[in-house]
C-alpha cells in the first residue's frame, strides 16, 4: 500500500532496479514496512523527534540570537548496503585514508611526491590549510588524520564516488549512533532477522586511538575533547562523544600551557593533559600562532604540540589533504604511495588554475558545479544548471580573479532513496558519510550517516539547508 505510488526516477534508485523490481536485499524490509499503517509510521516519527528534542539530540541554528536548537529531521526508512558491496567501499576508504596519511607525512617531511613531480609543488604550497610551520615536526605514530568523514555519492550506474574527504573536524557520527538507538526503540519490527551490523563500538574505538597516540604512555593517559563551546552547532555531538568515551569536555579557557605542557584547571589544581581530540579548526587553536583574535584557543598550545608534549587528533595541517584541488590528485597519490589502482572512483575535476581547465570551465559554467577549494557545508558553491545568469557571471569573475580557489565538476545526480513524505514514500537524493578511524589499525564504522535532501529534486543534504538523515544498515550477509 505504501509502496504503490513510489516511482524510481531516471537515476540510480537504492530500492528499485532497472527492471522495476525491488532489489532482493531490500525485500524483507519492504515487506515489514508494508504492514505498517502510514499514519502510525508518521506518528512514531513525531514521537521519535520529540524524544530527540527532550534528550537534546539537536543542532544549533546559526544567525538566531535565541540560539534555537533543532532536531535533525529523521526518516524511518533505513538505507541498506549489502555485505559484499560494503566490503568494496570499506577497502576503498581504507586505501584512500592510508594514502592521505602517507601524503601528509610526506608533505610535512621530505616532500618526495613534490620533487618527483607527481603533484605540482604549487598545489600544496598554495593550499590555504598547508602549515609550513609544521614541516619537519614529528607527530605521534606518524598519523595525521585519525578521524575522517568521507562523503560518498552514487552515480547513475550505482558506482560509489568520493565527493570529498573531510579530514579536519568531520561531524555527524553522533547521529549515526542516535539514529540506530531510535530505530531500535521505535521500529524494532523493521529489523526482523536482517543481520544489521552494529555501530556502537565507535566511541570505544575512538578512545583507543586517543590513548594510542598519547606521548606519555601511562596506564591511563588524560584525553580530553576540546569544544568551541555550548553555542557551536555541533555541541551536542561533542558532549555526546565525551560522555560515551568518559572523558572531559573542555573549552579553551579550561586549559593552560606551562613550560610547554598542557594542563586543565580543576578544583584540585592543574592536571596534565596528554591528548586533545579537538573540534576546533587549526586557525583558532592558538592565538599566539594562528588567529590572534581567537577566544577559543589556548595560548602556547602549538608550542606544546611541537615539543611533542601533547597529541592532537586530528593533527595540525590536515586541511592540505582535503583541499578540493588536492582532491583531484588523490588517485595519483594512491598509485604513488601504495602502487595500487584506486578502488573507489571520484568525480572528474577541473582545476581553474590550469589554463586549459579554466578555459573549459568558463565556457561550460551552466553545466558544471563550481566549488571554492576550502569551503564546506554547501557554502561557496555554484550549481550551473540551477544558477541565474548573474550568478554565473559573478562566479566567472571570481574564478578569473583567484583561479587557485576554484574547481569545477560535472553535475552528478546522486542516487535516490524512498523517503517518508506526508505519509507516502517518495524518492529523495541521498549521500553517505562513512567514518574512518586510523590508529593502530584502520577501521571503518559499518555504514555511516545517510543524509537525505528532503526537498523534491534538491541535491543539498546539509542539516542547515533542509536535509534530514536516516539509519544506515550494513547487512552482515
Amino acid at each position: 500500500m505504501l509502496l504503490k505510488p513510489y516511482r524510481p526516477a531516471d537515476l540510480f534508485d537504492e530500492l528499485i532496479d532497472s527492471n522495476g523490481q525491488v532489489r532482493p536485499y531490500y525485500q524483507p524490509v519492504v515487506d515489514r514496512l508494508f504492514h505498517l499503517d502510514p499514519r502510525d509510521l508518521a506518528h512514531k516519527v513525531k514521537n521519535l523527534e520529540l524524544l530527540f528534542l527532550k534528550h537534546g539530540v539537536t543542532f544549533t541554528v546559526y544567525g538566531d540570537e535565541r540560539g534555537t536548537e533543532r532536531v535533525f529531521p529523521f526518516d524511518p526508512v533505513p538505507r541498506l548496503i549489502p555485505a559484499l558491496e560494503w566490503e568494496t567501499v570499506e577497502a576503498g576508504l581504507i586505501q584512500r585514508i592510508t594514502a592521505l596519511n602517507l601524503f601528509l607525512y610526506d608533505v610535512y617531511h621530505e616532500q618526495k611526491i613534490l620533487s618527483d613531480k607527481v603533484i605540482p609543488e604549487e598545489v600544496v604550497l598554495s593550499a590555504a590549510h598547508f602549515r609550513p610551520e609544521f614541516v619537519g615536526i614529528k607527530v605521534p605514530r606518524n598519523t595525521y588524520i585519525h578521524v575522517c568523514g568521507t562523503d560518498l555519492i552514487r552515480d547513475r550506474d550505482g558506482r560509489y564516488l568520493v565527493l570529498e574527504d573531510n579530514g579536519r573536524c568531520p561531524s555527524g557520527v553522533s547521529y549515526v549512533l542516535e539514529n540506530r538507538a531510535a530505530m531500535k526503540r521505535f521500529f524494532p519490527q523493521l529489523f526482523g532477522s536482517s543481520g544489521v551490523r552494529p555501530v556502537d563500538t565507535y566511541p570505544a574505538d575512538l578512545l583507543a586511538i586517543l590513548q594510542y597516540i598519547a606521548p606519555r604512555q601511562t596506564a591511563l593517559p588524560n584525553c580530553v575533547l576540546l569544544t568551541p563551546g555550548v553555542h557551536n552547532s555541533a555541541y551536542f555531538e561533542h558532549s555526546f562523544l565525551a560522555r560515551q568515551m568518559g572523558i572531559e569536555i573542555v573549552e579553551g579557557r579550561d586549559l593552560a600551557v606551562l613550560d610547554g605542557f598542557v594542563f586543565m584547571r580543576t578544583t584540585h589544581g592543574l592536571k596534565q593533559v596528554d591528548v586533545i581530540y579537538r573540534r576546533i579548526d587549526d586557525d583558532f587553536l592558538d592565538p599566539k600562532v594562528f588567529r590572534k583574535d581567537s577566544m577559543l584557543g589556548v595560548p602556547g598550545l602549538v608550542d606544546a604540540v611541537r615539543r611533542g608534549n601533547v597529541a592532537l587528533a586530528n593533527a595540525i595541517g590536515t586541511g592540505v589533504a582535503d583541499d578540493k584541488v588536492t582532491y583531484a590528485y588523490v588517485p595519483d597519490m594512491i598509485r604513488y604511495y601504495l602502487g595500487q589502482e584506486p578502488i573507489l572512483d571520484q568525480v572528474p575535476t577541473f582545476l581553474a588554475w590550469r589554463d586549459e581547465d579554466r578555459k573549459y570551465i568558463l565556457e561550460h559554467l551552466p553545466e558544471l558545479v563550481v566549488k571554492a577549494a576550502n569551503e564546506s557545508g554547501g557554502y561557496g558553491m555554484l550549481i550551473g544548471p540551477m544558477a541565474t545568469t548573474a550568478e554565473i557571471e559573478e562566479f566567472s569573475q571570481r574564478i578569473e580573479a583567484t583561479p587557485r580557489n576554484y574547481i569545477a565538476q560535472p553535475v552528478v545526480y546522486f542516487s535516490q532513496h524512498p523517503t517518508l513524505i506526508d505519509g507516502a514514500l517518495e524518492g529523495r537524493h541521498v549521500d553517505l558519510r562513512p567514518f574512518i578511524l586510523c590508529g593502530e589499525t584502520t577501521k571503518v564504522l559499518p555504514g555511516g550517516l545517510t543524509r537525505v535532501a528532503l526537498k523534491r529534486g534538491s541535491l543539498v543534504v546539509n542539516s542547515s539547508q533542509g536535509g534530514g538523515s536516516k539509519d544506515t544498515w550494513v547487512l552482515s550477509h
Binding site: 528534542l53 527532550k54 579550561d254 584540585h268
Partner: protein
C-alpha cells in the same frame, strides 16, 4: 573535576532550587489572595510586594514596570525573560548550565530538566499559568523535587554531587531565611488572624505545616516557627539544616574533618553553622528577626563568594602547584589552599 564544570553544576542546582522556591512562595500567596477576600489582606499588584521583597526583586521590578498594572508583578515573577530571576529565566539558566556540564550528569537528570525547560519556554507553559496558576507552580515544584530524586538515585557521590548539593542547600538556606523575613516586615503584628494566616503561609511555602503541627498543634508563635524553619536540626528546609549540609559538602570536597577548615569557604560555612548551632529563637527575636536575617544573608553571600574564589577563579598561585596524575593526591590540596589564605 574541571573548575568550570564544578561552577556549572553548582549553578544548575542553585537555579532549579531558586525556581522551586519562587514557585512555592507564589503558590501559597495565590491561596492567601483567595482566602483574604475583603479582609485586611493585601490586594492586586500590591499583593505581590512581599514576594518581590522576599526574592530581592523589588528594585528590578520597579525599574521594568514604573507604572505597574494588575498582573505585571505576577508575569514579572514567572515568565518575564527580562527578569533574570523569573521562574522562566531560572529554569533556562539551570538547563543551560546542565547542557554545558552534560557529561557530568546522568541522562535522566538532563531529560527531566530539559523537558521542564521546553514546557516553560513554550506557549503550553504560558497557557498552563493562565488557566491554572496552581498547576503551573505545582509543575515547577514537582519537577525540581523529581530532579533532586533522580540526582540522588543516578549520580555517584563524587565531587559533582558535592557541588550540586552545595548549590541546592545554599540556595535553600537563602530562600527559607527570606521567607521568614516576610514575617519580620509584616505591617500589622497586632492582627492575630492575619498573624496566623501569615505564619501558616510561610510554613506551607516550606512544606513545613505538617511537621509544625505534629510538634505544636495549631497554635502559632514566632518562637516555635523559628525553632522549625531557622534552627531545626532535622527539618530539611530549615536554615540550620541547609547550612550543615553545605558545610558537610565543602568538607567532602577536600576531605577535611568537620569542625576544622582548610580554606576560606570552609571557614565561613563552619562559623555560620556554629552561630546557628548555639542560637535560640528568643536570642533571634531579641536581636530582631529582620536584622538577624540580614546578618545571615551576608554570611551566606560571603560563603558563596569564597566558594567561587576557591574553586572556580583559580588564583595565579595555583599555576605553580602542578599536580601530576600519577602522584595526584586530593589531600595535597590542603597544603595548597592553606597557602592561599596567607
Amino acid at each position: 573535576m574541571l573548575s568550570r564544570v564544578a561552577d556549572h553544576l553548582y549553578w544548575m542546582s542553585r537555579y532549579i532550587e531558586r525556581a522551586e522556591n519562587i514557585a512555592r512562595l507564589m503558590q501559597v500567596s495565590v491561596e492567601l489572595l483567595l482566602d483574604g477576600g475583603g479582609s485586611s489582606a493585601r490586594k492586586g499588584s500590591d499583593y505581590w510586594s512581599p514576594v518581590l521583597a522576599a526574592t530581592a526583586m523589588e528594585g528590578a521590578f520597579r525599574l521594568l514596570y514604573p507604572d505597574s498594572q494588575l498582573g505585571d508583578s505576577s508575569y514579572f515573577l514567572t515568565l518575564d525573560e527580562r527578569n533574570p530571576d523569573s521562574i522562566r529565566s531560572c529554569i533556562r539558566e539551570a538547563r543551560e548550565n546542565a547542557r554545558t556540564a552534560r557529561d557530568q550528569i546522568s541522562d535522566e537528570m538532563w531529560a527531566e530538566l530539559n523537558q521542564l525547560y521546553l514546557l516553560i519556554d513554550s506557549d503550553r507553559g504560558a497557557a498552563l499559568l493562565e488557566a491554572t496558576p496552581q498547576a503551573f507552580f505545582e509543575k515547577i515544584i514537582q519537577s525540581s523535587l523529581l530532579f533532586g530524586g533522580i540526582t540522588s538515585a543516578t549520580l555517584s557521590r563524587t565531587e559533582g554531587w558535592h557541588f550540586i548539593q552545595l548549590g541546592k542547600f545554599l540556595e535553600r538556606a537563602d530562600k527559607t531565611s527570606r521567607f521568614l523575613d516576610i514575617k519580620a516586615q509584616s505591617v500589622d503584628p497586632s492582627d492575630t488572624d492575619l498573624e496566623a494566616l501569615e505564619w501558616g503561609t510561610i510554613l506551607r511555602a516550606c512544606s513545613a505545616q505538617a511537621s509544625y503541627r505534629r510538634v505544636n498543634g495549631t497554635e502559632f508563635s514566632a518562637e516555635r516557627v523559628l525553632d522549625l524553619l531557622l534552627l531545626s536540626t532535622d527539618f530539611p528546609r530549615s536554615v540550620r539544616f541547609c547550612v550543615r549540609m553545605a558545610d558537610e559538602m565543602l568538607h567532602n570536597i577536600t576531605g577535611t574533618l568537620t569542625g576544622r577548615y582548610s580554606n576560606r569557604c570552609e571557614k565561613l560555612a563552619g562559623a555560620l553553622l556554629a552561630r546557628l548551632n548555639f542560637a535560640s529563637a528568643s536570642d533571634v527575636l531579641d536581636r530582631g528577626l529582620h536584622d538577624y536575617i540580614d546578618d545571615l544573608q551576608v554570611a551566606l553571600n560571603e560563603t558563596a563568594q569564597a566558594i567561587f574564589e576557591t574553586y572556580v577563579l583559580i588564583p595565579q598561585d595555583t599555576t605553580q602547584n602542578i599536580i601530576h596524575p600519577a602522584t595526584f593526591d586530593p589531600l595535597g590540596y590542603h597544603y595548597q589552599s592553606q597557602q592561599l589564605q596567607q
